[in-house]
Structure formats: structure tokens, C-alpha cells
Symmetry: C2
Subunit: 202 residues, 2 copies
């Protein structure tokens, strides 16, 4: 997310903002040009087409939402700690990029092939397997209660990501402003970690 002042970079930043907010179908090339403060022709000069520009923003977002968590899951630490670390990582990342997950999820649904192709070649986050095995091992050792690991995995991810996907709705439902929502997410790190640990108590 470097902020170089070159036109090339300004375009990417503008594209990121517009695509994230409006999606591929809703974004207008003119919007992006305006946001970047340049002529529309420059977009094509540097990136050929709307689709090409979108792909750059999209894969950058995928990297942020899916790939980077791998590094956290690769660290060497007890499973109990690793759960907390992963939860914190997600909530921190998404607090800085609230629009990220809905954007990614929506575009995947619009065009699943785009991402499925990549999964065929190699799993997008290999360490999730490792993590699930560590959890399974902890269950065998009696550290955790035995539950279905994929369901557990999905649950942890759900509790971290969903609040950001539903942010405007939750804000309306619980009548909280942006600051309060931020505080809620801050306190959510501990809540989710504790909640999961209690649920896994034998």
C-alpha cells in the first residue's frame, strides 16, 4: 500500500478506492480518473482496460484477505496462542480496510471462476491445513474438546470477518457510530478468542 507519487501509482490507489466502494460493475472509469485527478485516457495508457485494472486491485485484495494470514498460521507457537494471533490479525487488518471483505466476497460470487482457477493450481493458504492438523492433534491430546475441525475453522473465520461485511447493518441495528464500532472490534479480539477457547474446553 505504498504511496509513491507517480501517476501509475496514483491510478492504482484511485482504482482501489473506487472498485472497493462500488464494485466492478458499479465503478466508472471516469470516477477513477477523477479520484486520481487525471485524464481518463491515462487509465488506458497505463493499464489497457477496466478489466486489467480491476484484476490488479482484486488480486491485491485477495492477498490481503486470504494469503497474508498464512504467515501468522506458519509461526511456531502453541495452538491456543495461534488462535488468538489469527483472530487479532484479522480484526486488525479489517479495521484498517473495512470494505475489503465485502468487495472480495462479492466479486468472487460475481465470477467464481476467477479464483477457482487459482485454487486448482495450488491452495491459496496451505497453512490452514497445518493449523487444522494442529487443532486436531490438540483434540487427540485432550487439550481441546473434539469438534469437527472444518466447522470450527469456518466459525472462527466467520466471527472475525462477518462483522465487517455487515458493518453498516450492525451500526444501524446497535446504533453505533464509526468510533464506537472501532471500539467494539477492538474488544472483539479478546471476546472471540475467549469464546472459542471456552467452546473448546473439554
Amino acid at each position: 500500500m505504498q504511496t509513491l507519487n507517480t501517476t501509475e501509482q496514483q491510478i492504482i490507489e484511485a482504482a482501489r478506492k473506487i472498485f472497493m466502494h462500488k464494485g466492478l460493475a458499479g465503478a466508472r472509469m471516469q470516477d477513477i480518473a477523477d479520484e486520481a485527478g487525471i485524464n481518463k485516457a491515462m487509465l488506458h495508457y497505463y493499464y489497457r482496460s477496466k478489466e486489467k485494472l480491476f484484476e490488479i486491485v482484486f488480486w491485491e485484495a485477495i492477498d490481503q484477505l486470504l494469503v497474508r494470514v498464512n504467515a501468522v498460521l506458519a509461526e511456531k507457537m502453541p495452538v491456543e496462542e495461534k488462535i488468538g494471533a489469527a483472530v487479532s490479525h484479522y480484526i486488525i487488518t479489517l479495521s484498517d480496510n473495512p470494505y475489503l471483505p465485502l468487495f472480495v466476497l462479492n466479486e468472487i460470487q460475481q465470477n467464481p471462476d476467477r479464483i477457482i482457477q487459482r485454487f486448482v493450481h495450488a491452495p491459496l493458504f496451505p497453512n490452514v491445513q497445518v493449523f487444522m492438523q494442529e487443532i486436531a492433534a490438540a483434540m487427540e491430546q485432550g487439550i481441546f474438546r473434539k469438534v469437527n475441525p472444518p466447522q470450527l475453522m469456518v466459525s472462527i473465520i466467520s466471527m472475525c470477518i462477518f462483522p465487517f461485511v455487515a458493518k453498516p447493518l450492525l451500526q444501524a441495528a446497535f446504533t453505533v457510530n464509526d468510533v464506537q464500532f472501532g471500539m467494539m472490534m477492538e474488544e472483539r479480539k479478546k471476546f472471540v478468542t475467549d469464546f472459542v477457547m471456552h467452546a473448546l474446553q473439554p
Copy 2:
């Protein structure tokens, strides 16, 4: 969701399908007309504009995603049971309408005002308050461990809805087809309920 054979109804059904799959920005009036097997002018004859047609589909979806759960939460039964009932209700509803939540959440983010206006007049699901009070009462009585009720609420909803929001992604990540995904969601009803009950064990 009635299937009357009148043109008026055929249009709504077609609009529902197209809008749910492509969203407001991505949907084309021609797509809807084709899906309904009629001339594009008919759409305007019956529903004036794209926006008007969209609003009908949108509020119908809101009703399905947010309002109907109220009935479940209004039923008279012990909290422990009610949690399971709400979870089941959501997973059953969404299994029949997998595109529903992403559609709704996305359109809310695109235009939050649309829904915020409604929340100002009256809460869209008053019984959530009741439910949270029942949970708080159960905590006071020592039936449940004390946790922050809104955080708990958000967590339950997350675990129910998120898998459908991320459906294509989860299917790719865990390599499951539609049938297997359906089974996973079927088994998820029990998983989430148990998971929550264990997490709330004092």
C-alpha cells in the same frame, strides 16, 4: 415467493433472480426481460423504473433476512432452546436462498441510507432486544457464563450467515460441491448450537 402466472409476477420473479445474482449495478433490464420471456417495455409498463423494481426485490429480501427471524425470537421457550431455534431458522432459510445475504449486505453497503431510514422510524427486529435481555437474565441466574450480549449476538449471527456469504470461497477452499456444501450446512445447525452452548457454559 408465490408463483402466480401473471406477467406482473413473472417480472418480479425474474427481477429477483437477476438482481440477486448480479446486484443493482450489474443487472440489466434486458436480462430481466429475457429471464421473464417478455419485452423490455413491459418492465416499465408495470414497474416504471429499474429503481422501483429493485426496491421491491430489495425489501422483500430484507424481510426474509432480517424481519422473519423476529417470529422465531418471539416464541415462548427457554433461551437455550431459542438459540438453537434461531440458528436452525437461519441455516434453513439461507440453504434455500444462498444468494440472499450477500445481495442484501452488498446493496446496504452501496447505499446505507436506504435502510438506515427505516431503522430510524422503528427497529427492524425488536425481538432481538428481547432475546438479548433473556440471555442477560440467564447469565444473572448463572445458567450462562457472563459475556457481552451484543458481541454474543453478533457471533451467533456471524456463524449462521457468513458461510453463505463466503460460499464459493469455502467450496473452493475445502473442495466441496453443492451437495456436500448442503450437507455441511445441515450438520452446521447442530455444530453452531453446541458450540455456543459450550462457550456459554459457566
